[in-house]
Structure formats: structure tokens, C-alpha cells
Symmetry: C2
Subunit: 297 residues, 2 copies
Amino acid sequence: MFAGLSAFPLTPFAEGKPDEAAFLRLLSRLTEAKVDSLGVLGSTGSYAYLTRTQRRRIATLAVEHADSIPVMICVGAVSTDEVLALAEDAQQAGAAALLLPPLGYQALKEEEVFTLYETVTRHASVPICIYDNPGSTHFTFSDALLGRIAELPGVGSVKIPGVPAEQSAANDRLMQLRGTLPASVSIGVSGDASAGNGLIAGCDGWYSVCGGLFPRVAKAMTEAATAGNYASVRAQSDRLQPLWALFRQHGGSFRVISAAAGLLGLTERDCLPRPLLPLSAADCRAIADVLAALELT
Amino acid sequence: MFAGLSAFPLTPFAEGKPDEAAFLRLLSRLTEAKVDSLGVLGSTGSYAYLTRTQRRRIATLAVEHADSIPVMICVGAVSTDEVLALAEDAQQAGAAALLLPPLGYQALKEEEVFTLYETVTRHASVPICIYDNPGSTHFTFSDALLGRIAELPGVGSVKIPGVPAEQSAANDRLMQLRGTLPASVSIGVSGDASAGNGLIAGCDGWYSVCGGLFPRVAKAMTEAATAGNYASVRAQSDRLQPLWALFRQHGGSFRVISAAAGLLGLTERDCLPRPLLPLSAADCRAIADVLAALELT
């Protein structure tokens, strides 16, 4: 479940509601490419913009159309009770794993985050992936806290936010993390621009936004890493530099991939939940140019 | 509605649910002290930890027990649709005004925040208070954006996060804000430690966490400001320095006021929504000592 390419699809919107037909179109690209797992309702899947009912519906649709590929469902919410309710919904929908970020409103303390994971692992009957995403949650895990949570029975993986751009520093970071985490807990890299570095440094998998729209590209890179062909991983990641540059320009992958899905005709051109607004026509043209140059259309 | 002391009560919890009896105990202190308005379900009122149903219930209870004091209800949510639904609920409950923070998940752009306020003011039939609270929302308003939103019909006030600790800098900040905002839009200060400075600098009111538990103390300070008795405002705020020091120590007023409400026997000792955990026994003893020294018990 927690190794290889985990593809994180968008939950596209149309007219203020989740666009189920478009979601299934995105999903079918992922099942056709036989990604190793699906990460549904993550940040990219706009979990924070959906009601509990909408999240249950998307989780159910995902499992029904996953073609037996294991589905991980994000159950992030500010309140612990809401997390538990979402976890129950996700498990009833058939989730193979739960992705849990420490979403705060009042700034969270380490003990509070530990207790959240302790509570959810105690209630859940499928494994939990720790979602370390300080850019969105504004909570920064210490390695000591990650290690403590990772030792809870039921924790299967850590989704890390990225690794340093310099390969030897990325290798050092992975070594440090491995020393902190039980061997049974996998490490998956996210932050697509640093995924190549993370895979070369020995991450078990890639929790990938890029892979949620361009699964074949992300799968080839992940498989090269599994085969130990690091020169190929590096070359493939380098080739995608213009895409990573767009992610940097737009504050992350989410807005770019949302625009790209629209440009590819898989979703409405404007597929974002409000209050988010689509990128400008000029930005979309620049994205279209990069997709064409990288043969991603 | 948007001047004088606006008291922001906690929404206390007991056994994982809003503790309605304790909420009404807190409310009765505020109506007895005849505060000028109530700010219910703000950050202090734990809006982010409650379901829509719970928020509707607390809003209804607040208006029913407000003794004709106008009630402002916070309608913050990540999704615009959810904000609109909460605004509808709050108005049906009898809210006199809505408090709206730009709560994000994906980092919000200025145009997105403007459009959010534009949408909500278009739908709402009661005035809106702009909730500028970068510490919790992680969105920082530019003065230009505040000015643009404040010009929307239906905007009545801005709740600012605080003013500089140095009085002349606080005065400059207020002058700058007054130059940006239409004269019809009031400015209320929050960040209790800087409320004295804000009131002396000419804020129209105080959106007060301290006033949500200690309304007489906060009302005396606000009334001294209205009477132009700035030496008294300064003296009263200085007297409360040990309380402001506790707020600084605990990352804001919320955890301290929650502990204080428990120490006063108005709520359970542990009245926080999970994942938040109560302060340690030693921290509570230090808070009890300050309350006793300040004759706040």
C-alpha cells in the first residue's frame, strides 16, 4: 500500500459542486496506468473545501472505480470528533488506509498532535499515513514527534513534505529520518519537484500530485527508482523542470495541475472550489506551452 | 453595534460536546454587565471546532439569551458555500452582524479574499465585520485590500489584530487605517494586551476575549476611553499586565481564558475541544494566582 507511486487526483468542481464525471475521468487515467495506490481527498483533492457528505461520496466513488487499486483517503479536520467521523466514513467506503494531517486552528502543541494520532489509530482498523505538510497545516513536526507517532500500532507510512534540492543533503535527511522511524513505517516523498531526489535518497514511494494527472510520467520515474536506475530518475525529473518551475511560480502544484486538467479537457476550465479563482488566461497559456513542450497533452 | 465593548465568550466543551449550560453561565455574566455587543463563535468561541449544526445551536442560544444586546456571529469556513450556509443560519438565528475571517487552506490571493467578501455581502442582510486575524488564518491583509473590501455595501467594521505597543506608533497605525477606510466603517481592536493602546489611539471599540469572561473590567476600560480619560485607560491596562503576560506565555488569550473559566467554576476544568488539551496543573496554579492578585475571582 505504502510504496511505489501513490497518485493524488484532484477533486474537480463544476458550478460549485464536486464534478463527479470529471473526477471519474481523472480516476480512469490512474487505473489505466496501474498506479500503485490512490491518494484521494488530499490537499490536491480539496478535502478542506468539502462537506462531510461530499467527502463520503467522493471516497465511495473512488473505491468503486479504483479497479482494486488500494485507496488512501485523507480524513483531515480541525476537530478530533470530525476526524473520527470522517475515518468511519472512509472505512465504510472501503478505504485501504487513512491519511491524517494535524490540521489546526489554535496552534497545536506536540502532545496534542500525538494524542490526535493516538486516538485515531486506536479507533481505525486500517493503517494511517502521517501527513506532514507544514505549508498547509502550519504545524511543523519535530523528528522526535514523528518517531513517537510512527511507533503507534497502526501507523504505516509518513508522507514527508519534500527533501533538500541538493542530493547529498537529501540523502542525509533520509538517513536521519530512517534513524527516527521504525523500519515497518514507509517514507513517501511529496513536493513533486524534489521527488526525484527523494526517490534516489531511498524513499519507498512518491505521494504525487503530478502522478494524479500524469500517471505514466510519474510511474516511469518511480519504477526507475525501484530498479535502482538513478541516472534515469534524475534525467526524467530534470526533463520536467519547466513543470516544477510552474509549481514554484504558483505557490505549489495545486493551481497548476487544476489549470492543466482544464486545458486537457478532463475538467471544466475553472474546476476550483470557491473562494479559489482560476489562473489568468496568460498563466494558462504559459501552462499550455509547457504541457505541449513536455508532451503531456 | 460596532462600537464600545464587544465581548467574545468561549464556547466551553464538556465530554466532547458544547456545554450549553456553561455557555449560558458565561453569557449571563455579559448581559448582567450590559456589554455593548456579543461576539459569538469567534476564534475564542471555537467556531473552527464545531459542526454547522452545533454552530447554529450556539448562535440560536446566544440570541435567545442576549437580553436584546446585539449578537455578532462568526461565519468563518474554508469554502465559500459553507460560509454562505453559516451566514444564512446565523441570520435565521437572529444575528445582528456577521464576523468573517478569510479562512484558507490553499493560500488565498487578494482577489479571492475580495471576491469572498463581495459574495457574502451580496447575500447577507446584516452588516459584516472584517475579521483580520493573521495568527489564525495565516492571511495578511494589505491596507489597500482592507480599504477595497471596506467600501463594499454591507461592511460595517474591521476587527484588527492589535496595534503597536508604543503609543505613538499605535496612533500612527490608526491614522493610517482611518485614511484607508470609509468613515462609516468602525475599527475595533483585538489582541487584549494592546487594547488600551488601540482605544487611546481612537479605535471605536474593543473586540475582547478578556471581556468575554471579565466584562466589568473590560467595560470600565472601554468606557474610560469613550469618556476621553486616557490616563485611566492606561492605568487599567497596566494593572492587567500579569494577565497579558500569561496570554503571551501561552500563545494568545484562548488557552488562558479557557483555564480561567474552569478555575472560576463557570465551566469544566477541561473545557477545550479536542485535539486541544488543558494546561498543566502548574500552569493553572499560576493563572489562579494572577486571577487572585487582580481580584478577578
